[in-house]
């Protein structure tokens, strides 16, 4: 049992060392290897931008801008942070700036007023079992999950994406989005519970109907 874990650790170490070597190369001015450095994170960068902007075209543009900014500022990167976290934080900054430019102050103010009101009560209490990860092989399942995420209010979606999809920790999420740790925790709770109810509703609508689950039970 120990051998596969060891193999995984070795693979992670090799990847980290390769990444550090690439960072050093770019910091010395060898810009042509920058894409190789960021390629493993390009989808995460795009997803972070999309979570904030909710528009594919803007998200792609901001993702590219963020990468260029990272390239221009690569000498400021210090190894205390993970490179991926640094990239995501730059992306979130760029996306928030873009959104501020494009939205009126009035719209911001209206959104701000609707702050985490009250406790959230779950609606569905059916028996849950683990959804097999194979479900995600199907594009329509991924699409339905993305649609469910898209129905969340902006502030819940942003926090959920940063914490649960981008794997930033609570503190990093708070710093990236410029909100308090307490707000992150409150929004994360609501986002997770709302998505849980949405997925339960999705089951009723047949999102996972072709999955090999037992008749009469939900897949969770």
């Amino acid at each position: 049992m120990a051998e596969p874990e060891l193999a995984l650790n070795n693979s992670d170490n090799t990847r980290t060392m390769r990444e550090q070597a690439l960072i050093a190369q770019v910091q010395r001015g060898q810009n042509d290897v920058f894409y190789e450095l960021v390629r493993p994170y390009e989808r995460r960068v795009y997803a972070a931008a999309l979570a904030i902007l909710h528009n594919q075209s803007d998200a792609e543009d901001v993702a590219q801008e963020a990468m260029l900014k990272a390239l221009a500022n690569i000498r400021q990167f210090r190894a205390e942070a993970r490179f991926s976290t640094w990239l995501i934080q730059i992306t979130v900054n760029e996306a928030l700036m873009r959104r501020r430019r494009e939205r009126t102050a009035m719209m911001e103010a209206i959104d701000d007023r609707r702050e985490d009101e009250g406790d959230y009560t779950p609606r569905d209490f059916a028996d849950w079992r683990e959804i097999p990860s194979e479900a995600l092989e199907r594009k329509e399942v991924r699409q339905k999950l993305a649609e469910a995420l898209g129905t969340l209010d902006q502030k819940y979606r942003e926090v959920f994406v940063m914490r649960d999809m981008e794997q930033l920790n609570i503190q990093e999420t708070a710093e990236a989005l410029g909100i308090s740790v307490a707000s992150v925790k409150t929004r994360l709770l609501r986002a997770r519970l709302m998505l849980r109810d949405l997925l339960a509703g999705g089951w009723e609508q047949g999102w996972f109907s072709r999955l090999p689950f037992e008749k009469g039970t939900k897949p969770w």
């Binding site: 406790d119 209490f125 959804i131 999950l145 999809m165 709770l189 997770r192």
Partner: protein, 211 residues
């Protein structure tokens, strides 16, 4: 061992996210664990929330549009060849600073030019180096004051005697011949030709003779 707290469903729903983050204290965790064993509703909430986190944290949920990587690579390649963005950050400052410097140099040059022309004649030198109580003479029809022994004094029959201070106050200018030693220190020009100065004095005092 910490005794587990007794918790109800509302407390569980409020803390379930922190529970999954491992951010509840040992007592609350034990109380929630006990609650999940007996409450099917909360066990359902826990299982469903775990599913949500597990599904969305899967790499496959991070999708980008078709061709995104290629377009990104192209843009980065262009950005890498032209390090313009970084350069332009300080160039944006450099341009107005350079313009300001040029303006300042131009202004200084103008001042120098104006300064060179400001004092055209030794007659126009300030007379403030001349001892104020020095006795000087002026002719009634001239604008220059002299020491009484100056050879250039014209019309010696109609002279008025006064101090240098009074002469300056009345608008007379010093004679460059007899008062040269006082004027030289203030002059911007190198020492002027005494003959030219004398001619000038004469011209001022006796326009007919100079012609």
């Amino acid at each position: 061992m910490v005794n587990g707290q007794t918790v109800n469903c509302e407390q569980v729903w409020r803390e379930i996210s922190n529970y999954l983050e491992g951010e509840v204290d040992a007592g609350l965790r034990e109380g929630m664990d006990g609650h999940f064993r007996t409450c099917t509703r909360c066990a359902s909430v826990l299982a469903g929330t775990r599913n949500v986190i597990r599904l969305y944290s899967d790499e496959r949920m991070l999708e980008a549009p078709a061709g995104f990587g290629g377009r990104l690579e192209k843009r980065l390649a262009h950005g890498a060849r032209v390090p313009g963005r970084k350069w332009s950050t300080w160039a944006a400052w450099l341009v107005p600073v350079a313009a300001l410097a040029l303006f300042a140099v131009g202004l200084q040059w103008t001042n120098i030019e104006q300064g060179a022309h400001r004092i055209l004649s030794p007659h126009a030198q300030p007379g403030d180096k001349i001892p104020p109580d020095l006795v000087v003479v002026v002719a009634a029809d001239a604008r220059i004051f002299h020491v009484p022994t100056c050879d250039l004094v014209q019309n010696k029959t109609n002279l008025r005697t006064l101090t240098a201070k009074e002469a300056i106050a009345e608008g007379y200018v010093p004679c460059v011949r007899c008062l040269r030693k006082y004027l030289q220190s203030a002059s911007l020009k190198p020492e002027a030709d005494p003959d030219a100065d004398a001619d000038l004095d004469v011209a001022e005092e006796n326009p007919t003779r100079a012609r």
